[in-house]
């Protein structure tokens, strides 16, 4: 950890009263009534009525004893489900909301970007909004003036800079809003899920800018649901769960742990009781399993070779069952359907009741990232004997490798690594005629 600490958080807690959430704006009449009740009970119980009333109220702890430190220049990601307290934590650090307990200390000028376009006014022009929004985000007028051209260039709306923003398309509006925010230059920057706006190309532009910001040696704490971007931008990730800090560590490990809790995956099943195991008179399932080929690995990403294993009891002698599996992606498309390349010799023999294991080896660099479901079927000739749908459900994770600061969704049903050649065929100097047809 660097010697200088930029953010120190010590046991920060934040309580919201649910009663207040339900009835956000109490009317004066209710306040007077409640005040009278408090006064009355206070008089009756000798001054302790207030507290009694308070504890009866339903409260939730949006933040519950959160502590951590961020060194100067560190880029830290913040992950967690919706409502886990990420945004509340940023709001406490940005001094927008006050903690109920605990203490935090921030060293350096802090800028917060909790929303793109805060304070934008539809009646004002692009130019006017740049100044207004800049001032709201804490920029000095001189700073805005100095960066004005840069902001306009980044937003790509030069032609419309003197048009009221109410005439802008939503894309133009977002570009302008992000452009202002991207040119904030505090020592410490808090960013809340502002990257999830706009179209894919704009998101990419935002992420590239964040990448640049992260490399400038500034302290950044940011919330995003784009985990692949977080993994790339941050060396360290904090994971919030139910208002508490669930994990704090290297980005890849924490994100992996987090994804595992979200996953609906069924990566292993074992039926030890033959009688209740799924199957029929010909087949009884015994176990199914998916795992990385390398035993040391826990998760499967797009580059990881993995195996699919199926164990079943063959119930009838001489059944000659031929297995096959269907692998479906999250759109329900069969990505592939495979079975043994050649019928195994022992299977042609008239074996008696036996436990059989089929293992399918899937190479890395084949599947795209996503959730996959596997059906396991057994056929005799062309007749289907038994089929188990969703025998396995597993995740193939994305990887930060080979992305070169691009964090969008990689498209394609599959994601193979194919051989590729690029060669220089000729240069313009070698072909004098090339210049003439340029105009």
């Amino acid at each position: 950890m660097p010697a200088e600490t930029a953010i120190t958080v010590d046991g920060i807690s934040k309580r919201f009263s649910i009663g207040r959430v339900r009835n956000e704006h109490p009317t004066l009449r209710e306040a007077i009534a409640a005040g009278a009740a408090r006064l009355a009970s206070g008089l009756l119980s000798g001054g302790r009525g207030d507290r009694a009333l308070e504890t009866r109220e339903n409260t939730i702890w949006a933040l519950d004893d959160v502590s951590f430190r961020v060194g100067a220049g560190e880029v830290v990601g913040l992950i967690g489900a919706n409502g886990s307290g990420k945004s509340t934590l940023l709001k406490v650090l940005a001094r927008i909301t006050e903690p109920t307990a605990g203490h935090a200390r921030v060293r350096g000028r802090l800028g917060s970007l909790l929303e793109v376009g805060t304070g934008f006014h539809l009646e004002l022009t692009g130019r006017e909004n740049i100044y207004l929004n800049g001032a709201i985000l804490g920029m000095r007028r001189r700073e805005i003036q100095a960066r004005f051209d840069e902001i306009v260039a980044f937003s790509e709306i030069e032609r419309f800079i003197d048009t009221p923003v109410k005439f802008y398309s939503s894309g133009m509006y977002l570009r302008l809003a992000f452009a202002v925010a991207a040119h904030l230059e505090p020592e410490i920057l808090l960013v809340d899920e502002v990257l999830a706006v706009g179209d894919a190309s704009f998101q990419q532009k935002c992420l590239t800018k964040m990448d640049e910001v992260a490399r400038q040696g500034r302290t950044v704490l940011f919330v995003s649901h784009n985990l692949i971007a977080l993994e790339n931008l941050c060396e360290r990730v904090l994971w919030m769960r139910d208002g508490r800090l669930a994990a704090d560590g290297p980005a890849k490990r924490v994100i992996g742990d987090y994804l595992r809790t979200l996953s609906t995956a069924v990566t292993e099943r074992l039926w030890s009781d033959h009688a209740t195991a799924p199957g029929n008179e010909y087949v009884r399932m015994h176990a199914v399993r998916v795992r990385p080929s390398q035993l040391a690995l826990r998760d499967i990403d797009v580059k990881t070779p993995f195996v699919l294993e199926f164990e079943y009891w063959q119930g009838q002698p001489g059944a000659r069952l031929v297995p096959s599996i269907h692998v479906f992606n999250d759109q329900g498309i069969v990505v592939f359907n495979v079975g043994p390349i050649e019928p195994t010799t022992w299977n042609t023999r008239e074996a008696g009741q036996a436990l059989i294991r089929d293992v399918c080896h899937v190479p890395g660099d084949l599947l795209n990232d996503g959730v996959y479901r596997v059906s396991f079927c057994l056929c005799r000739g062309h007749e289907l004997v038994y089929c188990q749908d969703d025998a396995l459900i597993f995740d193939v994770r994305d990887t930060t490798e080979g992305r070169d600061a691009w964090y969008g969704k990689w498209v394609g049903a599959i994601r193979p690594a194919l051989e590729w050649q690029t060669e220089l065929v000729e240069t313009p100097l070698a072909a004098p005629g090339a210049r003439a047809d340029g105009s």
């Binding site: 406490v92 927008i96 605990g102 917060s112 909790l114 304070g119 006014h121 009646e123 004002l124």
Partner: protein
């Protein structure tokens, strides 16, 4: 290298009860105040046909109505000043106060998007609302000078006191404005009360009638309404009408100051919950 620079340190923790006013921080955010005033001005008359002339038309039309009903029909006295000039000279500071209070009482709720997403001293918002009305006041005031010239009213040396009375109007408007804006965050009843309050307040202020109608002994009490002191002072300083301000003005100064100081403390005390409840 950057780590050698002395960085500002911010401590964050729960506060309770009454807290310091922190004027220094308010000063730091003066540019934001400026931009919020600028925004309010830009927006108020954008897409209106008559634009900033509304700043003149509002008091002028009210003056015409008052002159017709109270000056011509009811024949209320006007301390020897032509009734239209009498009414208008009261309406100029009054319109400033009334609009300042109306705008600022709703200002925190109107700017809730900012309060939920950005930190800054929240006092900037209601103060900016009142400040943006100063321009309207200035425009209406120029018309008042024109009217004084039109009626051939001589200026008295007392005119040098005018800035003081204007300052008193600002203190009163900000004081009432911040009280109401803070309460409005918690109790939206305020936005229904304000129009009614302003209307009633108008008649509690010597605008359609001179304060000389109030019995002498009651006048110091009448001065609890700070706008009574402001309006009387305006007429005295500009038109030389009415008596030299005395006990009534003293009461007004005290009550305006109390409103402002109590408003500031109440505002700072309630401020910490704004982003959670607005």
């Amino acid at each position: 290298m950057a780590s050698k620079v002395e960085l500002p340190v911010t401590d964050i923790g729960p506060t309770s009860g009454w807290v310091a006013l922190r004027f220094g921080e308010l000063w730091e955010y003066r540019e934001l105040l400026y931009f919020l005033v600028w925004r309010d001005l830009k927006i108020r008359y954008r897409q209106t046909v008559l634009g900033a002339s509304w700043a003149i038309l509002q008091p002028l039309i009210t003056m015409a109505v008052f002159t017709l009903f109270f000056g011509i029909l009811v024949r209320l006295p006007s301390d020897g000043v032509p009734y239209p000039l009498f009414a208008y000279s009261g309406l100029v500071p009054w319109t400033f106060f009334a609009q300042g209070v109306t705008l600022s009482s709703n200002s925190l709720v109107a700017n809730q998007a900012l309060i939920r997403k950005v930190y800054f001293p929240r006092l900037v918002i209601p103060v900016a609302s009142v400040a943006s009305i100063v321009i309207d006041f200035a425009i209406a005031f120029v018309v008042l000078l024109g009217m004084i010239a039109f009626y051939g009213q001589p200026f008295s040396p007392a005119v040098i006191w005018l800035p003081f009375f204007f300052l008193l109007a600002v203190v009163a408007a900000v004081g009432v404005g911040i009280w109401l804006s803070a309460l409005n965050v918690l109790y939206r009843d305020i936005q229904h009360i304000v129009p009614f309050l302003v209307q009633t307040w108008l008649f509690a202020t010597p605008i359609v009638y001179p304060s000389s109608l109030i019995p002498e002994t009651w006048r110091p009490l009448y001065g609890i309404n700070p706008m009574a002191g402001v309006v009387d002072g305006f007429r005295w300083a500009l038109l030389g009408s009415g008596a030299q301000p005395g006990a009534m003005l003293a009461t007004s100064v005290v009550s305006a100051s109390l409103l402002l100081v109590s408003g500031l403390f109440v505002f700072r005390r309630m401020e910490r919950s704004f982003s959670d409840v607005v």
